[in-house]
């Protein structure tokens, strides 16, 4: 048994689920949002929501980088990929997301664009070294966890004088998105937030204090194993019962309150917050995304290519924007499971395994069964 297995031990998981069931107030409801797409995926994969008492409702949040990227930014990536002499390096998650008129990067590849799947921005650097006569553009997406490697790649390219390397930066930040969700007074209020473990290893737990103190919503940061997630739920239930809003660290084995200052310094050396960034589902959020600093302009794809900046409409009938806000349940979208499936996705939430729709799709059998049992 490895250390990781200990956090999956079925006996302990069931015990903790029973403890939660014994802790919830019978008449209360606990609307808890797991912000992070990694959490959404883990909950679906392990079927954890089925272990919780009916009072606890888990609401999928916007922390899936693929899902929150607006179609217009994907249009930019497609534009870059279509330029002759260009290699677009992307994380595999992005390649099937439908862009304008349903065209994805996979389709662009079939049309002749040179699109390569990479696992890290450093692989994109290797591509740039190996193809000196081509411009290699790394399609950078993701929250604070994936930002430091992109920053390091830019620094490395600068150190090597790698003139054919570019970054198309779409890195976004967690706290502004949380603020966007909590400031939205038209949505049903949340009782607690399960904070993202990996992101917090970079930013620490301090940024969540404003949500606990300002909005009165407790935050429990945690990891991605079943025990981690149930531990966070337990801490949030206790906070709600006590009428307190604080920040708890349920991921002590990986993070401390201060996060990783060195990684933040690297980010800060390369990137600067944009005035505003249009999120899919959340709209324009101020200071919520990063751009390359002027000192790194030579590596900025947005300054190399003249990218279309027209807003692109959402696919017709697609409820992704509402799903991302936690306002619409995936199965309430009229495309869910009919026109939109993992095989033929219409919206981004169905593409990524971290997307709320893909997660719900995996649970559709269980939902049907429990409905049938309820009727019996």
């Amino acid at each position: 048994m490895t250390a990781g297995d200990a956090f999956r031990d079925p006996g302990r998981v069931k015990d903790l689920a029973a403890t939660i069931a014994g802790t919830v107030a019978p008449e209360a409801t606990y609307r808890l949002m797991e912000f992070c797409g990694g959490h959404t995926h883990a909950i679906a994969r392990h079927g954890l929501d089925a272990l919780l008492p009916p009072q606890v409702r888990l609401i999928h949040g916007p922390g899936c980088p693929v899902c929150v990227l607006p179609v217009s930014r994907l249009a930019g990536a497609l534009h870059i990929a279509d330029q002759p002499g260009t290699i677009l390096a992307t994380y595999g998650d992005m390649i099937r997301v439908p862009g304008p008129e349903g065209r994805s990067l996979m389709r662009a590849k079939a049309d002749g664009a040179d699109v390569r799947i990479v696992y890290s921005p450093l692989d994109a650097l290797t591509l740039a070294r190996d193809n000196p006569d081509r411009t290699v553009v790394f399609f950078a997406i993701g929250f604070e966890t994936t930002t430091p490697p992109t920053a390091v790649a830019v620094q490395q390219a600068a150190a090597e004088g790698l003139a054919n390397f570019r970054v198309f930066c779409n890195h976004v930040m967690t706290p502004p998105a949380m603020r966007g969700i909590l400031d939205d007074t038209t949505a049903p209020p949340l009782d607690g937030i399960i904070g993202p473990g990996h992101v917090s290893t970079i930013i620490g737990t301090e940024p969540y204090r404003e949500f606990a103190e300002g909005h009165g919503v407790p935050v429990a940061v945690t990891g991605f194993e079943p025990l981690d997630l149930l531990h966070a739920v337990y801490l949030l239930v206790k906070r709600v019962n006590a009428g307190e809003a604080g920040v708890d660290n349920a991921y002590g084995r990986a993070l401390d309150a201060d996060g990783n200052p060195q990684a933040r310094r690297v980010i800060d050396a390369v990137f600067i917050p944009r005035e505003s960034f249009a999120w899919r589902g959340l709209g324009h959020l101020p200071h919520s995304a990063l751009a390359l600093r002027d000192t790194c302009a030579a590596f900025d794809a947005e300054r190399t290519f003249s990218l279309p900046d027209t807003p692109e409409p959402e696919p017709r009938g697609c409820a992704c924007p509402g799903v991302i806000r936690g306002r619409v349940a995936p199965e309430a979208c009229r495309l869910f499971g009919t026109e939109c499936t993992p095989e033929n996705p219409v919206g981004a939430c169905m593409v990524s395994s971290e997307g709320a729709c893909a997660a719900r799709w995996r649970r559709r059998g269980a939902g049907r069964k429990s409905a049938a049992e309820g009727a019996a």
């Binding site: 069931k14 079927g47 990479v118």
Partner: protein, 343 residues
Amino acid sequence: MTDSALDLENGRVELGHGGGGRAMARLVDELFRAHLDNPFLAEGNDFGAFDVPGGRMVMSTDGHVIQPLFFPGGDIGSLAVHGTINDVSMAGARPLYLALGLVLEEGLPLRDLAAVVESVGRAARAAGVPVVTGDTKVVERGKADGLYITTTGVGLVPPGVEVGGANARPGDAVVLSGPIGEHGVAVLSRREGLGFESDVVSDSAPLHGLVSRMVEAVPELRCLRDPTRGGVAAALNEIAQQSGVGMLLRESAIPVRAPVRGACELLGLDPLHVANEGRLVAVCPPGRVDALLATMQTHPLGRDAVRIGEMVHDDHGFVELETAYGGRHLVDWLSGEALPRIC
């Protein structure tokens, strides 16, 4: 020079090797006849002639485009032999003969070609299924990726055996022959650009020996499938869909070795979606599952055989997994192309 003896050390495939002239004859003599030697090929015809006994024959064909050509636990040659033997075997049949078609890219080192052909010969001999006819074509550099192999196999179904994907019924037991995901992870570990290393070895193996014991001991066996591309998830969904019956699996019963699990977590893959080349899933009546498992466990390729779940009433043909914690989710087909060119 193509009309001198093959330079297996430093030579490369040239267009002349597929041209039908002396160079091609030399390639056939020095490589194919040398490594695949059998009475059928010795006749020197453009076909393999053989007598067939009465009964039901099955035929299957499979193209192999795997990259890299050589991987831990096998290569494109052994894989092409095992792949088609296994496809024929999944009818409950005894594979008899193979046909081999190669598309070679100009510039392929002859050393690599020789190693692959030798591997085809070794795998076919070990399995007792000869290659009775073949074909080679050469295409210009850049028009193929080294080497593609298509194998076709024929086999004979023993009397009384009725194995097919549509035969599963509610209550039937679902059996898996061993730990999953090893072929896919072994191939990925050698892929350029993935930057991870592991000691995982492909499970590539011919399953006809195991299948022959299974159908002999349990002739009522309903379904057999080798979970290659798309993994166990795809194989089980195919059976559920063809039979119009659901399936409930127990996650804790599905064997995944630690290095495979680790690699899958690193790469964001579900082991149920990762390819196998020496495993099978079987469905049999519930009363026969103990006998089936006992028989499978006497064969080296079925030593770790386990029951992983049951067929259940479900018009949708959903495959569901009960997690170790009692939660449930669907086991869906893999969407897209997470793992291109693994076979």
